[in-house]
Structures are given as C-alpha cells and as structure tokens.
Symmetry: C2
Subunit: 81 residues, 2 copies
C-alpha cells in the first residue's frame, strides 16, 4: 500500500482569480499582511501496490492525463509507505 | 517575508464525493490500483512579516475564520522563510 500526495498549483504566469478573491476577503477581515494567495489542489491517493518505481510512473501518468491540466497547472507529488 | 503553505482536507468521517468521482474516472481509465482518493485544497500565502510566532498565530486565525470550514474540514500549515 503506497500513499501518494499530489499537489496541483496554477502556473505562476497564470492569473488565479480565486486566490485574488481570498486575498481580498482576508484583507477586509483585517489580515492586511497577506501579500498574495495562490490556491491549488491537494489530493491523497491510496494505491494498492508495493512497487515504488511503478507507483511513481503510474501517478505521473494520472497527473498528466486527469489530475492536472498541464497547460495552466503544475503538479508535484510525493510517495509515502 | 514568510510563506505559509496551508493544507485543507475533508475530515475522514465525511464523505468526499469529488474524490469518489475522481477515483471512478481513474478506474475507468485503467488505473485500477487506486483504492481511494481524497481531495483537499492547497494554499500558498505570502505574508509581509518576519515574526514567525506572530505569523503562526495569524495564519491559524485565517484558517479558523475563512480558509477552512472546521465543521467538516481539517487544516494544517507550515511556514517557510
């Protein structure tokens, strides 16, 4: 059993309107020290395999094909267990 | 300048329909080893302060008040820089 933690973030050059909205909300609540907010996705996958190198290749394929839109998003992941 | 990485996840006892949908999609694409998927949010905040302990208290307050719905979500964060 291998656990994969996947992080999908919007590329730095792409506008993140959700992050801008959250930053505005934080400012209006008094958190004026917040200079920027970028919002991404965090996914925890449990894989029924014990082969780490196979898991790495498979999770990479999942990211490329479904979990991330690589035109506007970056992804990274780490494996546990 | 302190960077805060915030992770918001749905509590284990709460159903995650988005995760179930992604798991179904991965299965239908041939990734049959995926046993479970839980989807959360990942936020990168840049704070204009150098006081780590103050930043820690402030980010905790942001999570409690806006970034996480603590009824159904857990959060954790780490500070960098």
């Amino acid at each position: 059993m291998i656990k994969a933690n996947v992080y999908v973030t919007i590329k730095q050059s792409v506008l993140d309107p959700q992050g801008v909205a959250v930053q505005g909300a934080l400012h209006s609540m008094g958190f004026r020290e917040v200079e920027s907010v970028r919002i991404g996705k965090y996914m925890e996958l449990t894989l029924d395999t014990n082969d780490r190198s196979e898991a790495e290749a498979r999770v990479k394929a999942m990211c490329e094909k479904l979990l991330a839109n690589t035109v506007v998003e970056d992804y990274r992941f780490e494996l546990e267990g």
